[in-house]
Symmetry: C2
Subunit: 404 residues, 2 copies
């Protein structure tokens, strides 16, 4: 059970916040053993209000790439904060960071910094519409590109015209993509895609290279822009743009979450072909040129370039996946482990309502391992082989617990 | 002239960012003596790339309320950062801050934290639509509520349906407001207003109490929600909600900019009547529950409650206004000084294309005073009487310079 101090905080939160804790951090649909509040975070771990420690496989839903409270990243933040953060003009660190990004990621000629991932996806929408002079976008049904009315997954508060000029298709389905593009006709401004299918609740899917390439071709044929939304998966699949390995270079890419290892920063990047359009839209925010998160991002990008953080998290993820598979089998369970090993979604077979998955992740939470039952998880570079071994021990015990 | 180091940075920026520095921080339409980049900020001052100091009357376009690099505010930020900032759940500081806000501001029963001011105005739109089950909003032509497509002032990148279900009226014009509300008919979800008219380029206007009260009445009569967008003026007109002094309590208010004295935090607040609707919309962002800006905001709100920061900035603003008026007259100029003294817009009479205003603010920039020719300015609590006296001396010299 959630601790009394956590429950008290939840009650206080419900008094002064709509629905208590809102958005993706709400544990309303998780087990009652998942704490809602955390007092502290460091490296790969969280501490709840009772001082209980959790090995955190959510990584703040993505921002924690290198470890919470990363010394070098946060030192750069604090140093820049003392110098100047939000000012009446940008700091030179904005230029330095944009140059670093452009030099680092193939196909990126320019960077537009913002705060939320959704700011970047909205700027992509506006850039594509300005560039083409057209309105319609084709995107995948169920894909998350933010919670603004134009891309909200739910209907609450969304107006009757907020998702006009949008045509949906099935991710990884070339024929359905072609059908949607045909339907858009001469009004196609952009195709929006996630680099992998990481929709909530359903199994993840890696992109079919034929789908990725066809999306690129269709944009080339129609003059529309290809937008790859890297907000969640950026720098977790590769050090570059997520589809580059398949030979596909998008016109626009959105980034966020891990870009400054937890500090608030997002970005839209693009090619020279649509730079003029991006310069003509007016997008801005009070804190978009804040220098401290940019200083933190400079260090984050350096670590991304110079360390094996990626290979390390992939290796740990693969060990976790392989061993979990065996453990589950030993207990007579089948697991569905989908998506990349370092961005895993783990559910039980024959568990459509996720009851078993929820119970198992609840048992894990009681054992100090924070797994999520229906949102993809993340490994971070601060995790160790010992952490994975410990996770597997606890998973074994949790299998036994839910089996009985 | 802008310094060589500033111009070099502008050229580098133009290579790697669309249009160079974009959004409201661009100095493209300011005098060539306004630096684009700043190396440092402290208290009421900025330093450019050559180490030249400016007394800053823009306050980062609003976030700087108490002074740049405010010791107590930033210490709270850094302390919370070391403990935990963006995590897999909120920190208890989120609850503490929401409770503080609710206890501090009359008519506020709940708080929904976000990052950009525009996040809060968008959440207001969605809450109003969910609460009423209607779509249409009435808002003032030319008012700025953010740069998202639904509220963008320009047309670039805005789709043909992004501003559907919106009816515009003239700020402070009761008859025109009534006409717009009548036009919305049974579909009216909300009336959006700024607490003062602080549209770009044109003279500012204080709200006519009859207009404010009629907006409230029209919402009461129709069941629509009254949204006061405090993002820019919040805590600069009063310690509470900006229209409370006129006896008008909004259903929803958006806040941002100064809420954490420059740290990235915004909020939508509301009354209990629309709390249920706010709990049903799904709005979220990767960094919305970041604890460090909330810790900074707690200290900011305490200073707002316990010091005379507001009376101090009003007093300084009134001195500046009165003395500038006399100085201008001595030089044969007439000034238009509009809006509250602490949020002034200062232009010259008979200067429709702002040439004279631009030249005068350029002369001021060369003298180390950062004034803006067409966007409202801000005073901050770190300014002193000596700063104002110094500003007036430089203004006198700048009048003489542009006169010849």
């Amino acid at each position: 059970m959630r601790s009394e101090s956590d429950r008290t905080l939840c009650e206080r939160a419900a008094e002064v916040m709509p629905g208590g804790v809102y958005g993706h951090l709400s544990v309303a649909r998780l087990s009652s053993s998942h704490p809602q509040f955390f007092a502290r975070a460091k490296g790969a771990h969280l501490w709840d209000m009772e001082g209980r420690r959790y090995l955190d496989f959510m990584c703040a839903f993505g921002p924690n790439l290198l470890g919470y409270g990363h010394q070098a990243v946060d030192a750069a933040y604090v140093e820049q904060l003392a110098l100047g953060d939000v000012m009446t003009g940008p700091s030179p660190v904005a230029v330095e960071l944009a140059e670093t990004f452009v030099n680092m990621v193939d196909g990126v000629d320019w960077v537009l910094f913002c705060k939320n991932g959704n700011d970047a996806t909205t700027a992509a929408l506006m850039t594509a519409r300005k560039h083409t002079g057209r309105a319609t976008i084709v995107r995948a049904k169920g894909a998350y590109h933010g919670s603004a009315p134009w891309c909200a997954l739910g209907e609450a508060g969304v107006g009757p015209h907020d998702q006009a000029d949008q045509i949906f298709h099935r991710y990884n389905d070339v024929e359905d993509l072609e059908r949607a593009v045909k339907q858009a006709g001469k009004d196609l401004a952009a195709i929006f895609v996630s680099p992998i299918k990481h929709d909530i609740i359903v199994d993840q899917e890696l992109p079919d290279p034929a789908y990725a390439r066809r999306a690129r071709e269709l944009c080339d044929e129609t003059g529309a822009l290809l937008v790859v939304d890297n907000v969640r998966a950026g720098f977790r699949l590769t050090r570059g743009c997520s589809w580059t390995a398949m030979g596909v270079t998008p016109d626009l890419s959105s980034w966020g979450k891990a870009l400054a290892n937890g500090h608030a920063l997002s970005a839209l990047t693009g090619s020279n072909a649509c730079k003029s359009a991006a310069s003509k839209i007016f997008v801005t925010g009070s804190f978009w040129f804040a220098a401290a998160p940019m200083a933190a991002s400079l260090v984050t990008l350096k670590i991304i370039r110079e360390t094996d953080y990626l290979e390390h998290t992939i290796r740990l993820g693969e060990t976790l996946r392989t061993e979990l598979h065996s453990l589950a089998q030993n207990h007579g369970f089948g697991l569905k482990q989908t998506g990349p090993a370092q961005i895993p979604l783990i559910t039980f077979e024959d568990d459509a309502d996720l009851t078993l998955t929820r119970d198992w992740t609840g048992a894990l939470a009681r054992r100090g391992i924070y797994f999520h039952p229906y949102h993809n998880m993340f490994l971070c570079a601060a995790m160790t082989e010992a952490d994975i071994a410990h996770t597997l021990e606890q998973a074994d015990a949790a299998f036994a617990e839910v089996h009985s």
